[in-house]
Structure formats: C-alpha cells, structure tokens
C-alpha cells in the first residue's frame, strides 16, 4: 500500500468530495472532510519522510504506463516539502471550518460546501504531485472552479461575494487558458508533455522565438493565478467577501500552489540557462515583486477591513516569493520555498483567528476589534503573533524566510533590492501596530457587541501560531528541506548551499 501513497494523496479527497455532497445530515459532511484531510495530511508527511529517507525522487506511474506516454506522479524534494503545507493547512482549516461554516453558511449548503472544499484541496494536491504538464492544467481548473464556487458561497452573508467570484472566474480562466496556450506551443516544439521529458527535449529548440513565447504564456498565466503584483486585482475582493473558512484555506494555499507550479516549470522545465529567462523574466519578476511588496503593504496600512488588510499583505508577501524566484539562484529559490512554507503558516494563523471574529461579528473591521484585546485576548494574541511573523520579527518563521531572502539578494549583489525588501517588511510594522493599538490600547466602544472566544475557536489559529514560532525557533530541518528542494532545480555547486 505504501507505494500507492502518491496517487492516494490526490485520489482520497477527490473521491471523498462527491461522497460528502450526498451526506445531508448535521456535520456528517464535515466529518468526511475532516477524516479525508487528516488522512491526506498523514500521507503527505509519510511521503515527506520517505522521500527524505531515500533522498531520491519517488515516481508513481499511473496504470504502470512508462513516463513519456503515461502520466506519472513525482514526489521529489520540492513536492515533498509543499505537500504537507497544503494538506496541513487543509486539515487545520477543516478543523476550524465546523464553527465558521455553521455560522456563515446555512445548513442546506453544508454538504455541497464540503464537496467543493475537498475538490479544491484535491486539485491543489494534484497540481503539486503530478509530473505531467497538461495534468497540472486539469487539476488547476479543478481547484479553481471549486474555489469560484466556494467564494460565491459567501453571498449568504455578503452579496459582494458574487461579483467578486465572477471576476475571479473570468481572470482565473484567462490565466489558465494562457497556460494551456503556452503548453500547446511547447507540445508542438517537443512533442511531449511530461515535465522531465520536456526538460530534456527543450534545449534543442530553446533558441526559437516560439519557445520563448511558450514560456511567456505559461509564466504569465501563472503570474495571474499567483496574484503577482499588477495581476492581483481579483485576490482582495475574492478573499474579503468569501466565507471566513474559505479565506483561511485559500489565502494559505491557492496562490502558493501556483508559485510552486511556476518554479516547477520555469526552473524544472525551462531551466535557468534558458535564453532570455534570466534577464527578461527574472528582471521583470524582481521589479514586480518588490513593487508588489510596497503596494501591498501600503494598501494594507490604509485598509480598515481586516480580511482586506491581510489580503493586501498577502500580495506583499507573494512579492517576496517572486523576488526569491527572480534572484535565479539556489539560495533565492530556497528562500522562495521557505517563504512559501512560512507564509502559509502565518496567513493560516491570521485568517483563522480573524475568521473566528468575523463569524461572530459579521465583518471583522478595525471597529469590531477595537478594545477587543481584553475580551478575546487569546485570539488577539494569535493575530499579534501572526502580524509579528509577517514583519519578520526574530524567533518567528517570518524572520527565517526574510533572512534567507535578503541573503540570496546579497549573494547576487542586489544591494538596493535587499534594502527595499527590508524597508517594506519594516513598513509592515505600521499595519500590525495599527491592529495592536486598536485592540489593546483603545477602549472598547460603548455599544459594541461583546466578543467571546471558546477553546474550539482559537485552537486552530494557535496550532498555526505554534507552528510559526516552532519553525521560527528551530528552523534548521525546514531550511535543509528548502535547500534540498532548491537543489532539485538548481543543482548545488560543490560547497555553496
């Protein structure tokens, strides 16, 4: 059974989804979701350990068809690192979802909600495990479509969820279609869709303009799915008006998967030496990344709605991942993987905590949390730790990823960029302080409803906070895993990590 784990990782949630859709009883659907995501999380950890132990890439051929013809699932250092993040967040979000969904979505839709929930998780896991380019597109669409539906489900409480979902759909589809066009061109040039095969055949044709155009199409499609700076407009309304559980899940995973796919394709298939990649795309990604960091942070400072505020900050954090990728070096890539991992933890903690508040108070704005420091201290402290991690305060995971990001930049002598990265993360202090000040330093307004918190409400958020602090304090295994993942794409020069 052990060797079937890679496919089980995806199949389990995929099959559980329709099954959950049928269960109309109270919490039954949630039960299925909980068990499935739990199992998926265990599988991903097993895969991670197995891959680390073996040190090589696990390949699972679907139906025993050999690679170029058949579809293979590949678990290498990179996917082994990202899988636990996706399934872990999925599991904890499902844990929290019971409360959040019960509060925000009426009982009739629960079964369907969890079906879509499982589908989007399955889609994401599929994108990470599959070794076939077109298969990535299929899983991409599976997760996106269910995501559109999940966002739209927020309309029960906030009708703005509908236009937000619609716009998310339009732009998401445009992005995915661009990706398919790029794939088509690649297929024309190389005749294969298997990632490893593509990588081998591409060098013969990489001088042609079609190859670069294919790369441009693919990269652009993924930029949009990953909400890189100018293409991020769909993200903020979608996350802000979606149900709190969905925001928590999506914010920590959806865009991260696209970052992983971008790395897998840009570095895995095209490779760093691909003509025009380093200077054209690399430069573009760097500039957009740092621009995104500043725009996101400044917008967050101004924002009053907490969900929007942290959605904006997600754009900034994604900017940092883009910078990691743009640095086109092993350390840069490792920094991107680290930040992918840590950001998922931080955002998970933040949105789970905010979700709890939003569930009680309708909308979580600066007003709702004013003076809440005393009423719901534990939840607010979770938000505080999440905020500190966002800034990159030492002893939190955020610090580790910022540290390696700046080190990567310095290795490439991007002094200005390193300075700007540091500055923008310092700027993040502004909106975190804004929240701290509102929650603790200002009195609770008279008429404001009394907020309350129960263990089941803040435990999910605190699981993520403890993970953030844990990986912040004892980060060596995570850093090694990140560098192992980076070396899959840029083989480590002897000595230099």
């Amino acid at each position: 059974m052990m060797q079937h784990l890679p496919v089980l990782q995806v199949l389990l949630p995929l099959l559980a989804a329709p099954f959950a859709a049928l269960l109309r009883g109270r919490d039954l659907a949630w039960g299925v979701a909980f068990i499935t995501t739990g199992a998926a999380f265990l599988i991903s950890i097993a895969l991670f350990l197995e891959q680390r132990a073996l040190g090589t890439t696990l390949v699972y051929e679907m139906g025993n068809w050999a690679a170029p013809i058949g579809i293979v699932y590949v678990i290498d250092a990179a996917s082994a690192l990202v899988l636990p993040v996706i399934s872990g967040i999925g599991f904890v979000a499902t844990l929290a979802a019971r409360q959040l969904v019960a509060a925000e979505i009426d009982a009739r839709d629960h079964a369907l909600f969890y079906a879509a929930w499982l589908l989007t998780i399955a889609g994401m896991l599929g994108q990470v495990t599959t070794g076939d380019a077109f298969n990535i597109f299929v899983f991409l669409e599976i997760s996106s479509l269910s995501a559109y539906a999940l966002v739209a489900m927020g309309s029960g409480r906030d009708r703005r969820a509908l236009p937000a979902a619609f716009n998310y759909l339009i732009l998401g589809t445009v992005g995915a279609t661009f990706y398919v066009i790029g794939l088509g061109l690649l297929y024309m040039l190389t005749g294969t869709l298997n990632l490893v095969d593509l990588a081998e055949r591409l060098p013969q044709v990489e001088e042609t303009r079609a190859a670069f155009t294919a790369m441009a199409f693919i990269a652009l499609g993924l930029f949009l799915k990953m909400a890189l700076f100018p293409l991020h407009f769909w993200l903020v309304p979608a996350y802000a008006h979606a149900p709190s559980a969905v925001t928590a899940l999506m914010a920590s995973t959806a865009t991260k998967v696209s970052v992983y796919v971008l790395i897998r394709l840009i570095f895995g298939v095209f490779g760093v030496e691909f003509p025009g990649l380093a200077d054209a795309v690399g430069l573009l990604v760097l500039t957009l990344g740092i621009a995104g960091a500043f725009v996101g942070t400044l917008a967050a400072i101004v924002e009053t709605d907490l969900k929007k505020l942290f959605a904006q900050s997600s754009i900034a954090q994604l900017g940092y991942m883009a910078i990691g990728i743009g640095a086109m070096s092993a350390t840069g890539l490792a920094a991107a993987f680290l930040h992918l991992f840590n950001h998922a933890l931080m955002k998970g903690a933040l949105f789970l905590a905010i979700g709890m508040i939003a569930a009680q108070a309708g909308r979580a704005t600066m007003g709702t949390i004013q003076g809440a420091g005393k009423q719901i201290p534990i939840t607010m402290t979770a938000i505080l730790f999440g905020g500190l991690a966002l800034i990159g305060v030492p002893l939190t995971a955020g610090f580790i990823s910022k540290l390696y990001l700046i080190r990567a930049l310095l290795e490439q002598d991007f002094w200005l960029l390193a300075g700007l990265t540091f500055l923008s993360s310092a700027l993040a202090l502004a909106y975190v302080w804004k929240i701290i000040e509102a929650a603790w330093l200002q009195p609770r307004p008279k008429g404001a409803p009394k907020l309350h918190e129960t263990a089941s409400q803040y435990i999910p958020a605190w699981i993520m906070v403890i993970a953030t602090l844990g990986f912040g304090i004892y980060a060596t295994p995570l850093v090694q895993a990140a560098f192992a993942a980076a070396h899959v794409f840029i083989p480590s020069v002897a000595g230099a990590n």
Binding site: L145, A152, P163, T173, V174, T177
Partner: protein, 127 residues
Amino acid sequence: MNPFIEQLLGQWNYYLVIVLMMIGFYGVIARGNMVKKIVGLNIFQTSVFMLYISMGKVAQGTAPILTGDPTTVYSNPLPHVLILTAIVVGVSTTAVGYALIIRIHESFGTIEDDDIIAQLDDEEDVS
C-alpha cells in the same frame, strides 16, 4: 508568390487562432455586460481548441476515432484528447459563470458592471 503570402497560406490556422483570441479578449475587456464577458471568454477558449486541433492534423489523416480498418491514417490523437478535457473545463467554467450571473441578477437586479459598482459605492457611502 512572395514569402509573406506563402507563409500566410502555410499557417493560416494559427492566424485564425490569433484573430479569434483577440476577438474573445476584446469581449472580456471592453464589454460591461457580464454575459458578454462569458461569451468573450468562450470565444477565447475556442481559439485555443483550434490551436491544438490544427497542430495535430496529419495530411489526409482522419479524426482519431478507430474505424476498425488498420490502414486508415489518423491525425495525432493526443491534441484531440487534451482538447476533449479542455472542452469539459470550458463548459463547466461557463456553467459556473452563468450560475453566478443569475445569482448576481437576483441580488443586484442588474448584470452590468458599472451599475453593480454604483450600487456598491452607494452602499459603502451609507455604511
């Protein structure tokens, strides 16, 4: 024949794809009406299907459906299979899109972008 015409004739299908793609894109960008956006999106996706299918065409090759006769020449089946999936994806996206449009119409009373924005602004001013 001058090389330009020759090249045009040789790859007329790709030009068609580009034209369709731009028409579809225009529909998405320029039109405020949501239904028109979905239609534009469909046109845009169809152009991709055209791209894949036309690249797989083998001279005198028939559609890659087994005819039982081993001597028949088929076009490359792979693009066709891929596009089957892509069509399914396209259809489901359109379905979700229209479902959303119906719900938007129910709650906003309009499916014009600008009107929805106006309503949202007024609502925001009130709150």
